[in-house]
Chain length 155, copies 2
DNA sequence: GGCTAAATTAGAATAACTCTAGAAATGCAA
DNA sequence: TTGCATTTCTAGAGTTATTCTAATTTAGCC
């Protein structure tokens, strides 16, 4: 197992406004995390990171999106790629709906609203939630992260 | 859909120390939530609630336990029963490990430690966590619950 | 006890992944 | 560049957790 000491920031549209050498950014980013910049990985990276907003995808939804955009990528590759990107710190896996794995392009410290009706997830920046007191982690262990899900329902 | 206004407390060993009429408690509790006290439901209720401690089970683990205790219950019935108990407010469904559904016999307001190595879940009473500031729920919705998972790893 | 609705069950079906093994693409070295 | 070792991709099979289905059994009531 490898521990990431410096988490790379995710791709962003901002960094590529000029659109010269459209894939250069993505290629470098993938190289940085030791993933060969293949056609498939580049296509998925584009969909995930070059839209300029934070996204919550499942393998299923991303695969569908890739198909629509004309990229030929198998579902197995989408699964592989999502896990590789997660291991590389480019994505974060989130657990809300048992039986489905969501990936979040926002890798900053943050939390989520979860709509109980629609299952819709929305980011909450970490600074909007203040936790005043936390219990001590059990002996021999330390807190690695605090995940907060605020469940909301219709008023 | 039915909204529960008065959540029944879960069963507890404390309430049945004398052991007279061993199933009376369970039978009444099931009646209260409009579930016929069948052989299977009683067996599962006993396993879940009469051990005097809070438990985290999956359908799989509970089914196995039932088998060992000599109760003949099908896995389908375990699934059905866990969901019925949850709907009746006797259990709470928790999401931590995508791909598996856990049920918690502790239905009080509380949170969880999640050990990233073993997947082990531990309850944290609500009073041990203080949330000082929460964001407003989006328009037209209200906060129904705040779930906090403190992920821990080896030190 | 007998009837009716509810509950249980085995096994089939489904959903979301994961694995496998062969084909294709990548990148390094000459 | 070309060849080759290695990585990556893919279709399809396999797995796991769960739900569905339709037939059987059981509970509660007269």
């Amino acid at each position: 197992m490898t521990i990431m000491h410096t988490r790379p920031r995710a791709f962003s549209m901002m960094e590529n406004t000029m659109n010269e050498r459209p894939f250069a950014q993505a290629i470098n980013r993938l190289r940085e995390v030791d993933l060969r910049p293949t056609r498939q990985r580049l296509a998925l990276a584009k969909l995930l990171f070059e839209r300029g907003c934070d996204r919550h995808v499942t393998a299923e939804t991303l695969h569908e999106e890739a198909q629509k955009s004309g990229a030929r990528v198998s579902l197995a590759t989408v699964y592989n790629t999502l896990h590789q990107f997660t291991d590389a710190g480019l994505l974060r896996e989130i657990m809300v709906d048992s039986g489905k794995t969501y990936f979040d392009t926002n890798i900053d410290d943050h939390h989520h609203f979860l709509c109980e009706r629609s299952g819709q997830l929305t980011d909450i920046p970490a600074h909007m939630v203040t936790v005043a007191e936390l219990p001590q982690a059990p002996d021999g262990s330390k807190i690695s992260r605090v995940d907060i899900v605020i469940r909301i329902c219709d008023q």
